[in-house]
Amino acid sequence: MNLSKSWTVAAKDFKVFRRKKNILASTVALPLLVSVLLPAVILYSTNRGAGKGIPDAELPILLPAFIFFFVIISAPLITAIASYALVGEKVEKSLEPLLATPTTDGEILLGKSIAAFLPPMASIYAGATIFMALMDLVTFPKLGYYFFPNWGVAVTLLLLAPLAAILSVEANVIVSARVSDVRAAQQLGVLTTLPFAGIYLAGELGLISLDTNTLLSISGLLVIADVLLFFISTATFRRDEILTKWK
């Protein structure tokens, strides 16, 4: 495996994405929106008096769930880019000359995965940093301490979010073999959001607690899912399959 070739493929995709305003906008806007909107919600809905709003005592339960939003949004962010990196290239018929170069399937797939993984993760980390800073600013007067960062956030952002992003990349590779337009790929790719939205809801409904141990257990399950999907996606991304069986 020649990593410099994978990086060449990824760098080319970065260049292409920079010119696609819709991709740029969605990659930057969604994490930014979450990072600003959630602290605003807390700011305007806590201690509104007469028993209204969110009580201060609820904040330590709510805030870990909020950070989970950054895991949920990883799937649509990854999908927006991966669909262009894979299906877009298929639609524009540029995969065939790419596959004719002395580059292995693994090198191309890794390059595409880097291209789909890095920009959303950078955006998520930037958004999460803004979120934590604003949230600490808003909640410090109510809690008397800075809630972020903590171990739960570390596990969520450094373990869970990348694992969820990898899952989404792999799902997009598999989806790419079955669809022939970018929009269909995006619609199917976004489905990987569902399990994480389900976990978030379960946390909010009190069915599970999103504490560090639970997050580590979810991460463990994600590792297994990622490994399984890795084998399926690499079997899907073979030049013979792409040129003869992909739709």
Binding site: K5, T8, V9, K12, K15, V16, R19, K20, E92, K93, S94, L95, E96, P97, L98, L99, A100, T101, P102, T103, T104, R239, D240, L243, T244
Partner: protein
Amino acid sequence: MIETEGLTKKFGDLTAVDSVSFKVEEGEVFGFLGPNGAGKTTTVRMLCCLISKTSGEARIADYDVGKDSDSLKIRKLIGFVPDSVGLYDDLTAYDNLEFYGKLYGCTEVQRRENIERFLKMLGLWDKKDVTAGTFSKGMKQKLAIARALIHDPRVLFMDEPTVNLDPESAKTVRDFILELKKEKKTIFLNTHNLDEAQRVCDKIGILNTKLMALGTPQELERSVRGRRTVIQLEKVDDAVIAALKRVSRGNTAVDGDRLTVDVVDPKKENPDIVDAVVRAGGRVQSVTVLDSSLEDAYLKLVREAA
């Protein structure tokens, strides 16, 4: 340089390429002619190590097509122009070539030199910083050719390079192929443009799932019907026809005062034919040699296969 022996590709029950054998020498331009669905693209894809073969053998510069360890080596020494240009419309012409140059392992100096050389040769140097998406079809095709040449390959595979191009752009591409021929590059050209094949190819294979014929354009033309000599007389009578049949073994057709005789070598046979006609009392007004065309050969073979 390129050699196949019984090369076959099946997709399930469908045989796309059936036991095809041919040899292309170094520096030769080989034309692969055939109707749509004949298996031309599938053959090129197999030779470019893009899809696997079902059976048979293929070698490029003594590397085995289908052998995993040789696959990357083959792709390093070939260039490929697919039937769809497949450029990155959001990247400039220069960036498109730069990307492929890196994937082919060219050094920075090689990339810079080759990009300039081929863009200048194809008349695109002034457009190097323009995004490929704004190019015309002809310009895109030229850029796709430059992309295939960026690493200076020994073998160039071109799949329908002039299809959908206006006559001027098609001529530029054909002239460029002839330039490459001068540089002794081995070129494998898929086309169904017979005129193009006749103009640029040293050898032609006619494919319709199976290889129907193989030879130089001239050999293929002759293989169909040879040539015909047309003699215009003042009047055709039985004595003239009888005299003609005595000296010629080819078919003879009479159309009014015109005789048409199938010949193999007109230079050798025509003096005797004309002499016999004159001796039999025929008054010759004109003698014309009609060549059978590559088109005749192609149509005959394709119809026979159907």
